[in-house]
């Protein structure tokens, strides 16, 4: 007879309880009420001998109950000759997620993470499957590679893979990594035994900046458990830099008697709540030469706080990219901020027309005033005229035609000028023709390279009213009018055109009618000419020709027209690692701007820095920064995972069958199998019940007999 849990045999000691109870002198507990106690005197108590055991049979029964109960809890079994068949442990499907986000660059974290993964690999058995994936999404060790590697070499494989790996610069998206791990499990289940225990180990520093919200509602497979290995960095504190933007006001940081700065950068300095660096210093450097630019700036940020610092770019600073460094912080990974200052886009505007800049009757007057003070694009208007200039008109000599010149044509052009402009358009230029005269139709058709354009008969005036046209049908899908697509702004019915110049287009015309007058005649056309585009406006731009130039829609429309000419709206120039998609709209090429001889690549950058971004033929400098969330290094409460439904190790979901196979000492399995088959404890339990019934019956009989007999005279 052996016992699976022999320590329960200590329960035999409880037999002493009933024995002592039976040896103790029975003090009567009976109570009797009586009315004439006044005449009664107290009787001397009746005593029993101490050594005498009362009701020995009852005592025997009670001792038996205790003993059998203790034996039952000890789970006895008989060692028979049943051969032990080694069943082997349940195979495991282990997926390890290694956090390689930017915050893992803190001192002490990465070696500890590698050690955790190594220890995990060592603990795996031959039949176990293992997949190692990085939180950034890279699969470091695939299941196939693990299974192809001989068992003895698997530990070496893990070590070699980890040795070649360093933490990245991206944000910690743990939810995406865990989701990828669940997908791995599914693949493993398809390939192998689906009953295998699934184990997920996440090795990370678990900072508050890590994203785990996506774990909510994740469908967890059966028999899975998640272990969170939280790593402790050497320094709990961290200060980081975050880019906010350019300050619109430069006067606040301008020192007296000093030239105003070129610009003022707004950055935020955040300090972790756990520990705070005492003295912080900001210093601007030329990113290409690493020379300090301007004086350093000292600041103090309390723990858990953030402070916005204004960093002036001195007037003598180079125009190229800059680097802002934060010193005084023990963790340097988020102490650098890359700064690019995109040059304002200039668009030379050539006005073809012998009109004065203060001539209210022509478009030049309104164009000059509408585009004055624009920051992007910066419009520089100069007038060009083939007609002999009147004395009052100041006509500047035409400069050499730049590639991005925008031509506004308000008078008929000579044939050679038309040819020059068409060549300009074909090479990607833009031009706008104002049909302020029926003769302009010929110029427009010549520029478009088409024939057959003819003026439409002027509309008849209604009795007693000035004849006017309205824009009737506008294509808000077209980039020229997409700005007004919102129903709040799409009402053009209040703009009257008193001198509309409608025309009739031939059927073969390539012109796209962007807007039509209310008589369905074309009002605004756009004709592609080579790589460039020609826009034709059916009328003049003046208060005499209509209300268009005084309407609130005129300047926004001009803005969209000129932005279209310079390559579209202003694009962002700062992004974080892992979020560079906001900088581009389609296929783009990236080249590190500070590395001479680097070749452009199509993959988005994985490191912070200054990059040359080439998109749709245009190249611009962009800055890629460390993610702001990486600076939020406060420890993440691991309870949050449980709240999101993650079956953590030790929780009821995860630990369903994790106890017996892994925790039991060697040799116990045979005993537990034998005991599980015999289940002698059940019979012992039945015996206890029978003994209890006998004890109750016997006690009842004794009680009845005791109450029925008149007590004998007391013995002393």
């Amino acid at each position: 007879m052996s016992f699976l849990s022999p320590w329960f045999l200590a329960g035999f000691a409880l037999i002493a309880g009933p024995i002592i109870a039976h040896l103790i002198r029975r003090v009567t507990r009976d109570r009797q009420q009586f009315s004439a106690m006044r005449f009664l005197a107290e009787s001397p108590p009746r005593l029993s001998k101490r050594s005498r055991i009362q009701h020995p049979l009852l005592l025997l029964l009670r001792c038996l109950i205790v003993a059998v109960l203790a034996a039952g809890f000890a789970r006895p079994f008989l060692r028979t000759d049943i051969p032990f068949v080694p069943t082997g442990g349940t195979p495991q499907s282990v997926v390890a997620v290694l956090d390689d986000s930017a915050s893992m660059q803190r001192a002490g974290l990465w070696p500890a993470a590698r050690q955790k993964i190594n220890d995990l690999a060592v603990s795996l058995k031959e039949g176990d499957q293992f997949v190692l994936i990085a939180a950034s999404g890279a699969e470091l060790i695939s299941r196939e590679r693990w299974l192809q590697t001989p068992f003895s070499e698997r530990t070496g494989l893990v070590k070699s893979v980890l040795a070649a790996r360093t933490p990245g610069w991206g944000p910690a998206r743990l939810d995406a990594a865990v989701e990828a791990a669940v997908t791995q499990w599914e693949q493993m289940a398809e390939a192998t035994d689906s009953r295998a225990r699934k184990k997920l180990v996440v090795v990370s520093d678990f900072t508050a900046g890590a994203r785990i919200a996506g774990l909510a509602g994740l469908p967890w497979p059966k028999n899975c458990e998640v272990t969170l290995e939280q790593l402790k960095p050497d320094h709990l504190g961290d200060a980081g830099l975050q880019w906010l933007g350019w300050s619109p006001d430069v006067s606040s940081v301008t020192a007296p008697n000093a030239p105003p700065p070129k610009a003022v950068a707004r950055v935020r300095v955040v300090q972790a709540a756990t520990e705070a660096a005492t003295a912080l210093r900001l210093q601007l450097y030329d990113a290409q030469t690493n020379r300090a630019v301007g004086p350093p700036q000292d600041l103090t940020v309390p723990a858990g706080d953030a402070q916005v610092a204004l960093v002036p770019i001195p007037a003598n600073a180079p125009d190229g990219p800059l680097r802002l460094e934060l010193t005084g912080d023990a963790e340097p990974f988020d102490n650098t901020l890359w700064i690019v200052r995109p040059a304002p886009r200039e668009i030379p505007l050539a006005y073809y027309g012998a009109h004065g800049s203060d001539d209210l009757k022509h478009a030049r007057f309104y164009l000059e005033r509408a585009t004055a003070g624009w920051k992007d694009p910066v419009v520089k208007l100069h007038a060009v005229s083939d007609a002999p200039a009147p004395a009052a008109v100041s006509s500047t000599p035409a400069p050499a035609q730049p590639a991005n010149e925008f031509a506004v044509i308000a008078e008929p052009l000579a044939a050679d000028r038309v040819a020059t402009l068409r060549a300009h358009l074909a090479s990607g230029g833009f031009a706008l023709v104002l049909l302020n005269d029926p003769a302009m139709i010929g110029t427009a058709a010549a520029l478009a390279g088409e024939t057959g354009w003819s003026p439409l008969a002027p509309r008849l005036a209604e009795a007693g009213a000035q004849p006017h046209a309205l824009l009737g049908k506008i294509d808000f899908q077209h980039p020229l009018f997409a700005l007004f697509a919102d129903p709040h702004y799409s009402n053009f019915a209040g703009i009257h055109f008193w001198a509309p110049q409608s025309l009739v287009l031939p059927a073969a015309s390539k012109a796209a009618v962007v807007a039509r007058f209310d008589d369905n005649s074309p009002a605004v056309l756009e004709i592609p000419v080579g790589q460039g585009r020609l826009v034709v406006w059916g009328g003049d731009w003046s208060t005499a020709a209509g209300q268009w130039v005084t309407s609130t829609k005129f300047i926004p429309w001009l803005q969209s027209l000129f932005e279209r000419a310079v390559g579209g709206a202003v694009r962002p120039f700062v992004a974080e690692v892992g979020d560079t998609g906001r900088l581009i709209t389609g296929a783009a090429q990236w080249r590190p701007a500070l590395e001479a001889g680097a070749t452009p690549v199509n993959t988005p950058p994985a490191q912070p820095g200054i990059y040359e971004l080439t998109e749709a033929g245009a190249t611009r400098l962009v800055a890629v920064e460390v993610p702001a969330a990486a600076s939020n290094v406060a420890p993440l409460p691991l309870d949050d995972f449980e709240k999101l439904g993650v079956p953590l190790h030790g929780s009821p979901v995860g630990a369903a069958d994790a106890t017996t196979a892994t925790k039991s000492p060697p040799g116990t399995q045979t005993s537990s199998v034998l005991e599980g088959r015999q289940r002698l404890w059940r019979w012992l339990l039945v015996g206890v019940v029978a003994l209890l019934a006998m004890e109750s019956l016997f006690s009842y009989v004794l009680a009845r007999r005791g109450s029925a007999t008149v007590p004998a005279p007391a013995e002393t």
Binding site: T28, D30, Q33, A36, M37, F39, P45, P711
Partner: protein, 311 residues
């Protein structure tokens, strides 16, 4: 002139059977009906003490009632006609203290005393007497003034049926209160166990008799209280004071009986000294016999009252 002893029709109604009847009024009626049957067969003749009128003598009339003085003066025979006091005032004082809750036979002394009171009250009520009730423990806790009106007997029964209050006995105090409540001369029945020390209530009892009340005492006792043939060796607890003693009745019996008898003698002496009729009834006695003993005259001190009862 003592009246002949009435012979009850039966050997008495078994108290166990009687007290098994839950309705107190029904219990009383069972006893009283049987009692009347017995009385009707008894040869005693009642007569009144109050003179009402004269009438002409006719042959056959009892010569005892002939007015001799008138005959001597006027030479004419007249018979004196007497009429009993029809409105006898009677007050029952019933002990409801905790000691009355003792009972070794399956019913308590309180049950027995209540039944006895109800029975006697019904007996008197049927004679159109004025009856009242006072339930007392440490004081008079419930008082129904003596009256004769429709529903009064029901009211009395309802008061009797109320569960005892379960307080201590202060018999002397209760009797003093009764003396204050009964200003008119009355027949007062006190039903109690009189286990309290005599000096506690002796003076108050004297006050009642001094007020010319006709006081009659029924001492209701449990048989076990007389003999201590009861119970096991156990911790005994006083029902009134809660005092606990380990008592082996076999051991304590002799001393108890001695003390109890001494108390009883003291009680009897106290009653005799004040001319109070005293009757000891144990709860195993048939109730009708107990009632019969009550209404039978014993000695001169109770004669007039007995006469009135036996009208």
């Amino acid at each position: 002139m003592p009246a002949p002893t009435a012979t009850p029709p039966t050997r008495g109604i078994d108290p166990q059977a009687l007290l098994a009847i839950r309705d107190l009024e029904l219990r009383a009626r069972v006893v009283v009906e049987g009692l009347w049957a017995g009385l009707h067969r008894s040869p005693y003749s009642g007569f009144s003490v109050e003179f009402t009128e004269y009438r002409q003598y006719s042959p056959g009339d009892d010569l005892r009632f002939l007015d001799w003085k008138v005959l001597a003066r006027t030479d004419r025979e007249f018979i004196k006609k007497y009429e009993d006091e029809t409105n006898l005032r009677c007050l029952f004082l019933v002990d409801t203290s905790r000691s009355m809750l003792f009972g070794s036979r399956g019913w308590t002394k309180a049950d027995y005393a209540r039944t006895l009171a109800a029975t006697f009250a019904l007996f008197l009520h049927q004679q159109r007497d004025v009856i009242g009730l006072g339930l007392f423990a440490d004081e008079i806790v419930d008082y129904v003034p003596p009256r004769f009106r429709p529903g009064h007997f029901r009211r009395l029964i309802a008061a009797l049926e109320r569960e005892p209050s379960g307080r201590d006995t202060r018999l002397g105090h209760a009797l003093e209160q009764a003396a204050l409540l009964s200003r008119k001369r009355s027949l007062i029945f006190i039903l109690s166990d009189f286990l309290a020390p005599v000096p506690e209530w002796e003076a108050a009892l004297g006050r009642l008799t001094a007020a010319r009340h006709d006081v009659r005492v029924v001492q209701v006792l449990d048989p076990a209280e007389r003999t201590l043939e009861f119970g096991n060796a156990a911790v005994w607890e006083d029902m009134e004071t809660g005092r606990q003693l380990y008592v082996d009745p076999a051991q304590a019996r002799a001393a108890y009986q001695e003390k109890f008898n001494a108390h009883q003698a003291e009680v009897a002496a106290a009653f005799d000294q004040r001319g109070v009729a005293h009757q000891v009834i144990t709860t195993d006695q048939p109730l009708d016999l107990a009632l019969l003993e009550l209404i039978q005259p014993r000695g001169s001190a109770r004669r007039s009252a007995t006469r009135r009862i036996q009208r």
